[in-house]
């Protein structure tokens, strides 16, 4: 508590200008050690007001123009296709695996003394490979393959989603399956998909929209069950394997590509992973740009994720 108050206090000194309520919060907070912070914190914070003149002008502008049917497509388009691969490794220590609290349906979920572990940071012991890093292409100009019609499998067994991170493609059906002898429900955030899956049965879910960054997949009946899902229009998405390796084939060649990188435990914004690489510039949102030549197989080699990039 003490350190926190000091933090808040030190931060007070460094930020200007302060809103009205800050004085109350800062002074009282640091003197009465945290207690006052809770009390004063309940004041409504008001954000900036709209600029009404700009708003009126904008409304007129939007009303006057109709959507241009064609926008000049200035983005350069290349030809041919290429492959991107690499391998994420974690330079820190993953620490001991944390056992999850399993307090329901224990005859199945903890049968024969089985334990379930937190899988948010999986590091391969021998290769240091970091699993479940998501890498996807932003805004592709063209796509090589059609949306496949055969369905992907999102399975759960022993009260655990088999894949901690699941990647799918918009329009491609997903067979959401329950291989347990007990019932589950599968709740995919942001999609309004929340479906009962009876024991041994399955149901089809077809994502209709991109997720942006991965969203959570949970089971409300068994609150410890958690996974992530990412759906992309073009399917240019990879989840790093147990040894940290990933491959995205059939990428558009001869044009600038921008990739987004994400990991559940990343300290970056909303899980964005930003690395410092000598020949690859990453921005704070966890993105890097690259251009591939036709038929090239570009290996980014070993991408080291430092210890402080992952929440402890």
């Amino acid at each position: 508590m003490m350190t926190r108050t000091l933090l808040i206090f030190s931060q007070r000194l460094s930020v200007a200008p302060r809103p009205r309520w800050v004085g109350c919060l800062g002074l009282a907070g640091s003197v009465v050690v945290g207690l006052a912070a809770a009390g004063c914190g309940s004041a409504v914070v008001s954000g900036p007001s709209p600029d009404f003149e700009v708003a009126r002008a904008l409304r007129d502008k939007l009303g006057a123009s109709t959507s241009e049917t064609e926008t000049a497509d200035t983005a350069p388009q290349g030809i041919g296709w290429a492959t991107l691969k690499g391998r994420f490794v974690f330079s820190g220590s993953p620490g001991a695996a944390i056992a999850l609290v399993v307090d329901k349906d224990t005859q199945v979920c903890s049968k024969d003394g089985m334990k379930l572990y937190d899988r948010s940071l999986l590091v391969d012991e021998s290769t240091k490979g970091l699993a479940n890093v998501v890498l996807f292409l932003r805004n592709s100009s063209r796509v090589k393959s059609e949306v496949p019609t055969e369905s992907l499998l999102l399975d759960q067994e022993n009260c655990e989603f088999l894949a901690p991170v699941f990647a799918g493609r918009v329009g491609q059906p997903i067979d959401v399956k329950n291989s347990d002898p007990i019932g589950h429900n599968t709740n995919i955030a942001g999609t309004s998909f929340n479906q009962l899956i009876p024991a041994g049965e399955s149901t089809i879910f077809t994502p209709a929209r991109e997720t942006g960054l991965p969203v959570t997949v949970t089971c409300n009946i068994h609150p410890w069950m958690k996974a992530y899902a990412v759906f992309r229009e073009d399917g240019y998405v990879a989840v790093s394997a147990a040894d940290g390796s990933f491959t995205i084939p059939d990428l558009p060649a001869g044009e600038p590509l921008e990739f987004q990188v994400w990991h559940e435990r990343s300290t970056g914004r909303s899980g964005a992973v930003s690395l410092e690489q000598p020949d690859l510039k990453w921005n704070a949102k966890g993105r890097f740009k690259i251009e591939l030549k036709a038929d090239e197989v570009r290996d980014l080699g070993t991408l080291e994720v430092p210890a402080d990039a992952i929440k402890g």
Binding site: G41, V45, D51, L58, E68, G183, P198, I204, N220
Partner: protein, 452 residues
Amino acid sequence: MFEREYVTVTNFAAQAGMMTLPGDLSEPLAMGCRRVRDRRGHVCWLGMAAALLIPLVGAGCGQTAAASYRLNLVESAKQRLRPEQEQQVATILAALFGTPDEPVALAECGLDESKLKLAAGPVRSDIVGRKNGLYREHCAHCHGVTGDGMGPTAAFLNPYPRDYRPGVFKFKSTERADKPTHADLVMVLRNGLAGSSMPSFALLSDAKIDALAEYVKYLSIRGEVELALMRAFFELDDEDQGRLPDDREFLIDEILLPVVESWQAAEEALIDVPEMPTDIDLADSIAKGRELYHGNKANCVKCHGVTALGDGQVNDYDDWNKVVVQAHTTVQGGLERAGETSTWEMDADEVAEHRAELAWLDRYESVLGGNALPPRTIRPRNLRQGIYRGGMRPLDLYYRIHAGINGAPMPAAKGTVPPEDIWHIVNYIRSLPYDFNGTLGADKPMVARDRL
């Protein structure tokens, strides 16, 4: 218990006040309402109550600033928006939707602006004596002028009033992921939501209820557009320099239309309900429903409990509260990490970054304290009471089981539980409030004293 009384008092006072006072005397009330929007919640509530009890006191409030919408600062803090970015969002929203006193609906919204005008603004009468400002008269004290479910009375209610901004509504006749139809909203307004603080507005004319339903849609579309705009900052490229484009292609085609279209699609997304099976005896149907309830297929028992008292799963959150819970986790984790960080060996840039992080966490914490209600867990319905928020018709229960309840943990049974089985569950659920010692039969009359 106390919460219930609060809202009843306010609500009745509001309605009784408006019914007994002549038009011009209703102004102090309107003023009380106006205070609601731009002041701190609890102060306003007091102001409003005072204005209701002694109408003259209202005059003492004097002129207040024009009503304004409150920004979704919980989301903007999550997205780490800078003040100028927040202002850009506020300005775009003002362009697309106007203000609480002067709502605007672009043609693309498909909303009826004349209905919005009837519902919006301070409570007043027009030249022919028709009441205007219905939303602030009947709804704003709980749902807030912005429709953020954060009106002055909200903190006293359980469940909290609906926050329209995520565009998620629970009680409807459409598939889970779809919006409610206009008729669904009208039904909630007319019947209220049993077991919650939402009262029935059946005393209002059809035209007024219609106008209010339209206004709820307007606030919801506005709120969803706000969320989309705030989230769009993350998707910007470096070249955009942290500003959203303000052209039609982005604002209308990319942001507004998807929201509007989802509302328009609702009218086509009605749940197809087959007839209740008639070739089965009711007692048999109930027995089947009972098996399904406790079995592995429908699994109702996991949350609603073996007793059906709603005590199976009591530590889960609905989507609205989950947002706040996750935000608290982010802030706490961030503060802990910051506490372990030493600035001793940092260079100037790193120190600046560290300070920015602290400033963000501090603001996030303040926003959660002042602009969000303390998160509450959600209770699965106690099925022994016979009180169903979304309506007690068998059809309503069918909808709830078929599609689940959007925004709540209740999953959809559609697809994995056949329609006739859903009907059996409906019959079993409807028998539960009358269920005596777990058996049911006409030959066994229920004795109230024995039941106790």
